[in-house]
Assembly symmetry: C2
Homo-oligomer: 420 residues x 2
């Protein structure tokens, strides 16, 4: 796609976004529900496009993890449609007045939540993101420009076309779901330069994709860095609770960003705690890499190198470090954490409250598993991702993360006199 | 300053920021008040440094506007100190819990307001910004890295040193007010690459400075675009009120970003309204440039070219356009407004509410002057600037705009089961 073609698409999306911002919730909900219906009723077309994508990916000898992310079947399409339906059911964030106050001169000043405008979503092999991202953008009043991975181009083309048709047939402005139908990387570069037309770029995928987008985008980026999450077991913690939480954080789903990668244990409980948790983790197939003190307390485990403290395994692997104090644990987290989610297991109220304040991360847990770091689990409904940046949105990004607040002011003729 | 020197400064600021985030409000308030005291007690040193800056700027034949911004006297230092004292008196945003809710599994999920970390402020000739920016950053728990214009280097050096000393002597961590003591532009380029050490860059100054920072920064930027503000006088508006508001928006302080640059008048009231307001504006020395219909209704005014609709005069100049409908006014604003502030004068409730919803700007006014677009006037206390971007902070940026929210989660042993 040429730069002009991408610009044309974005210009149409910008126009659509202006109209979309005014659409009342019930029309948006009807349209998003129709999108979910279309995914299911057109499943044969989706599956046949997906079969061609899959055959090509197989013959290109892509790794099996990619093939798994790419593959659709009826059950996955059903889940995709259910996710879209769930978005339709969420409360509409647009138009919410988040505060209003009266000034001494009688002006009434308030804040109103409004859509951002046009959101570009850049992702990789999972065709489900197409439906997911479109639903979240439209429900929050934003036009979406979607650019998926080259492996999924046929699946994404079918899905985005049927979503766009369902949206337009149900009262949403034409052009509010745009798809960059191109496999070349140039198209992305063009998109990333369209300041003034596109308001936000959300990259969803691996670290390499995210870094590349951050490096080259002239448009603000809402990014999701890696998840290097710790669980710290404090002196005096309930060790049964600590074991359950640590085991859950590592084993329940090791390949996701909110899984634990490093376990920190206070020296006062390490002798009692470590042999038991290590045995249980090893039984679950976890490879352990310990600091020297860990290796003294538990025989037969590998040594953690400096690099281990900064490694997101995303796998059945765990580094363990014994710390001399609460402060040492907090300092380790400050040095090595990625700011996604951190947890303490403790019985001490004061240290629980200090951990909440002193640990700088999107989600800070007391006595619960970092695995709960998720928009759905937090009660925000579906999420667009988990932001590890501090600006605009931090932690799980739901519908409100796709909006901003403008000031609204009601007067009855007030004018300003700066000399006063 | 070499890249290593800037990095060293930022590393120290990062360490200071971690400690500063934990400082209780009363200690911060005492330190910020001490900074105000120091500005006043050390005024002789400030004035003598400023005299040298001024002499050099005069001999370099800088324009008089720059000399005016650069010049300090006792009255200006008093105002500077008063501004800092006012920041100390504002409510502390850090640690505020902005919401907390219980999940079905018993988890208590909430959001806590925390500092961003390290903020770099890049500005031009006004030495007052040094005090202002440092006070706002420290009060909101952030370390500040300050880089002023080359013309004010001696003034800024004295001011930032005395602020840093007062902060450190009153319980704030050393290094939390850092000053880039350099006149070369390279130092700024180095600063703008320090992702991971600096969390936010705020450029304060002219359009050229802001564009250059936006173009080159690898760190998120909170920017203030130009202010191209409209006042739209609706059909059926109270024309006396409209006249007062339009006059105030243009004349009260024409050189600032929230002053009106274009006046839009509904054709139904143009015949009655325009001759009167134009005469009054002309008496105040305003040069008018009108659309063809404006020029038919009022004799002897210049013609507005297409470029006028996109020009921020920042001066006693005004473009006027007669529109055929409310929709035409809103479309003109969408095409030409800069998203800072827009106003309608109307008696019609439904159009008032439509204007609030349909106009996409940081501040949208009904029946009041755009000149009120200001953190102080909105009741937020002192402001760091007015953001015309949508992400993170929009409109006047006060202390909360210098913070972010993290999720905090209280559990009692909850673990996740994704299979459910």
């Amino acid at each position: 796609m040429t730069a002009d073609m991408v610009r044309e698409l974005a210009t149409a999306a910008r126009l659509a976004a202006r109209a979309l911002a005014m659409v009342v919730p019930e029309v948006k909900n009807r349209a998003v529900t129709a999108m979910a219906d279309a995914l299911w009723s057109e499943r044969a077309a989706i599956l046949s496009a997906n079969a061609v994508d899959l055959a090509e990916a197989r013959s290109a000898q892509h790794p099996s993890a990619l093939l798994d992310r790419l593959a659709l079947d009826e059950r996955r399409i059903e889940k995709m449609a259910a996710g879209v339906r769930q978005v339709a059911a969420l409360p509409d964030p647009v138009g919410e007045i988040t505060g209003m106050w009266r000034r001494p001169n009688g002006l009434l000043v308030g804040r109103m939540r409004v859509p951002l405008g046009v959101i570009g979503v850049i992702y990789e092999a999972r065709p489900g993101v197409t439906a997911d991202a479109a639903a979240l953008c439209l429900k929050s009043g934003n036009a979406a420009i979607l650019k998926g991975g080259r492996e999924a181009i046929r699946s994404n083309r079918v899905i985005s076309n049927l979503l766009a048709d369902a949206a337009a047939a149900n009262g949403l402005p034409k052009g509010c779901v745009a798809f960059i139908d191109s496999v070349d990387r140039e198209a992305v570069s063009h998109l990333l330069q369209l300041t003034g037309l596109v308001d936000l770029i959300i990259p969803r995928g691996g670290e390499e994709l995210i870094r590349a987008v951050q490096r080259t985008s002239a448009i603000p980026v809402l990014a999701h860095d890696k998840g290097l999450c710790h669980t710290y077991v404090d002196e005096g913690a309930d060790l049964h609770m600590a074991e359950e939480i640590a085991y859950n954080a590592k084993v329940e789903r090791p390949g996701v960003c909110n899984a634990m990668e490093s376990l920190l244990v206070h020296e006062g409980v390490a002798t009692l705690f470590l042999p038991q948790i290590v045995r249980r983790l090893q039984e679950a197939g976890v490879e352990i890499r310990g600091c020297p003190r860990t290796r003294t307390l538990v025989q037969g485990i590998g040594a953690a190198t400096e690099a281990d403290w900064d490694t997101e395994y995303l796998d059945l692997m765990l580094s363990i470090r014994v710390v001399g104090s609460f402060e040492e644990a907090v300092a380790h987290i400050a040095a090595h954490g990625s700011g996604l989610a951190e947890a303490i297991v403790t019985s001490d109220h004061s240290r629980a409250m200090r951990f909440l304040r002193e640990v700088d991360a999107g989600a800070v847990f007391v006595n619960a598993s970092t695995r709960f770091t998720d928009g759905g689990e937090f009660g925000m409904g579906a999420e667009m991702g988990i932001s590890t940046q501090k600006l605009h949105a931090r932690g799980p990004v739901g519908l409100t993360g796709l909006t901003c607040e403008k000031f609204i002011i009601f007067g009855d003729g007030q004018i300003r006199d700066s000399s006063k």
